[in-house]
Symmetry: C2
Subunit: 354 residues, 2 copies
């Protein structure tokens, strides 16, 4: 009924103490004589006081004791996407441990996103730069709060960021396949620029907005070059991480030249779609074709066949991000975490029939 009618000053007045004392009763009880303390508590109860309003406290204290995780995807992304989920587990673990709250910030349209970022009651941001990462960084920077970018597209030394060595990871994947004896490859890539899909050449890669895709591509190329494979002969298709997009990508890759015996996928998600589609077409993995993913999401272990992939320490990235925001409060902090190749059953040597 009577919402928020009674405030600390009302309680103080009714109990016959100063507001300062009343405040102490709730925030620093040991400073108040037990007798007075009890009287104030009783008065508060009688009046139906809801306890110190965090809004007032916030203004005074300055800190909201919560961190925000922002992305340009819809909010449900946090609960759906395998990568995001593992990341959030790391983040929430770190928040739990530090007693910090967690606010999810996002929006589809950029106007609302801007507003949400401006008005989020947090002490810092973790930025999930999946798509439209630069916009996100720009908006957050205006807020003048500490933030750390994850998987940022463009490397920008002026902002804190935590990431992985995409280049080295891609090399591991390529090396694994090359050592298995593969010589004909196809690449299922991620977005190089916003809203694009299709076959791409070296030029497009060099001009990529997102360094993640570019670095992975270069890692593949450089490693394969050691085995005498010319990058120009490798079909590469930029997908949009949807089943349909991967289907088109596979079509292209499998028919662009002589059929590859191995596929390098830039994410587990893409690799898993590819697995399904290959099965539909009667191609068996790894007998007919090998495939290696990237990311190391949990689902990759349970698909059929279990996916060989380059695993990122996803949860650890999340933990470090929180730590960075809460502790490294001052300057720029950049960190690159190691990657690891996890060989499962989606890769094998090229068989005679290929």
């Amino acid at each position: 009924m009577a919402r928020d009618l009674v405030r600390l000053s009302d309680v103080a007045k009714a109990a016959g103490v100063s507001q300062g004392t009343a405040s102490n009763v709730f925030s620093r009880p040991d400073l108040v004589r037990p007798e007075v303390r009890e009287r104030v508590h009783q008065t508060a109860r009688d009046l139906g006081y809801a306890g110190p309003d965090p809004r007032g406290r916030l203004l005074r204290a300055g800190k909201s004791n919560a961190i925000g995780v922002a992305t340009a995807e819809p909010l449900s992304y946090f609960f759906e996407d395998p990568f995001a989920r593992v990341l959030m587990q790391g983040i929430s673990e770190a928040c739990d441990a530090r007693g910090a709250g967690l606010a999810l910030v996002s929006a589809r349209n950029s106007e609302r996103l801007a507003w949400n970022i401006q008005s989020a009651l947090v002490d810092g941001f973790v930025l999930l730069c999946i798509e439209n990462g630069e916009k996100l960084v720009e908006l957050t920077r205006e807020r003048q709060l500490p933030f750390v970018a994850l998987a940022l597209g463009k490397p920008d030394d002026t902002i804190s960021a935590i990431g992985v060595d995409d280049y080295a990871g891609a090399q591991m994947a390529a090396r694994h396949l090359a050592q298995l004896g593969h010589r004909r490859f196809g690449i299922l890539g991620l977005e190089l620029d916003d809203a694009h899909e299709g076959p791409v050449g070296s030029a497009a890669i060099a001009a990529a907005t997102y360094s993640t895709s570019r670095d992975r591509a270069y890692g593949y190329f450089e490693e394969l070059a050691l085995y005498g494979i010319d990058r120009e002969t490798i079909p590469i298709y930029e997908t949009r991480s949807t089943a349909e997009s991967v289907r088109r990508g596979l079509d292209y890759i499998l028919t662009a030249g002589e059929r590859p015996t191995a596929i390098l996928a830039m994410s587990d998600r893409v690799a898993m779609f590819a697995l399904e589609i290959l099965a539909e077409r009667g191609l068996s993995v790894p007998e007919d074709i090998s495939i290696v993913g990237f990311d190391g999401v949990p689902e990759a272990a349970t698909v059929n066949p279990p996916l060989t992939t380059v695993v990122q320490p996803i949860a650890e990235i999340g933990r470090r991000a929180v730590k960075t925001i809460l502790e490294h409060d001052g300057g720029v902090h950049r960190e690159s975490l190691p990657l690891e190749l996890l060989v499962r059953n989606s890769t094998a040597g090229p068989s005679a029939r290929s």
Copy 2:
């Protein structure tokens, strides 16, 4: 560097306008003459003003434009548990649509939980009462904000709640099995009270703290009674939703009397654990034994065999919860959503060999 040094009043002073006007420049630009507006903006830029601080606005406006989702589980629960994830998808969808923010509130120990609830900057709470639900309700009630309880243990007409008709759902499950011809059952239950596990009888069920478990049990019983099955002959084991617990439950159920031909599980999670354990023991489902779950989480469709289950409109529950908080601001709002039996492959008629 210079953090938060410049405030609206500084900008106003520097630009030679009143603070009121400066405020309008940012919040209601159309009220200010373009020329002045531009001058203020320019001054703000020169001074490095970060824009109106949400803390100040919050205090004045009263609304934080965010809802909190609280539970007594650790924060990572939101990203791990299948039920919670689908629920959060519904919640986040509704928040997105209304432009509301989302804050996750939780803590393992109840002291911290209390603090987190008291200090959360939100306009209302959705309470995920999994465990320790009453404590959660009590803490939230003190805050005097609108809230709605989900899956509340004890029915309490004085609080808003959204749930499902557990009783009817359980009936559907039991009826399905009975009509298939089953006459010997075992029940894998959920918690009746905190921190308990083991075989239970009618008395314990009647005295349950959590109505969810009780209602489901009664639904099973009443329906089976129609087929002449005495509830006292049905072994029922209260599990704790872990693999080990389910293993012990299964041990009990399978050996308490003549082996059942069908198992009624009070959650998909429990049913899925049971599926694994039965497979280990060489019992095939549904040939040797049928099993039906409860909840309808997405994973239930992909296990082997796909699980017959009673599906809850989980995401819809989430959506309605948000709607209730944001719109039904005043009184108590109680709602019960319909359940549906989804027959997949974990159930069949009892075979000759059983």
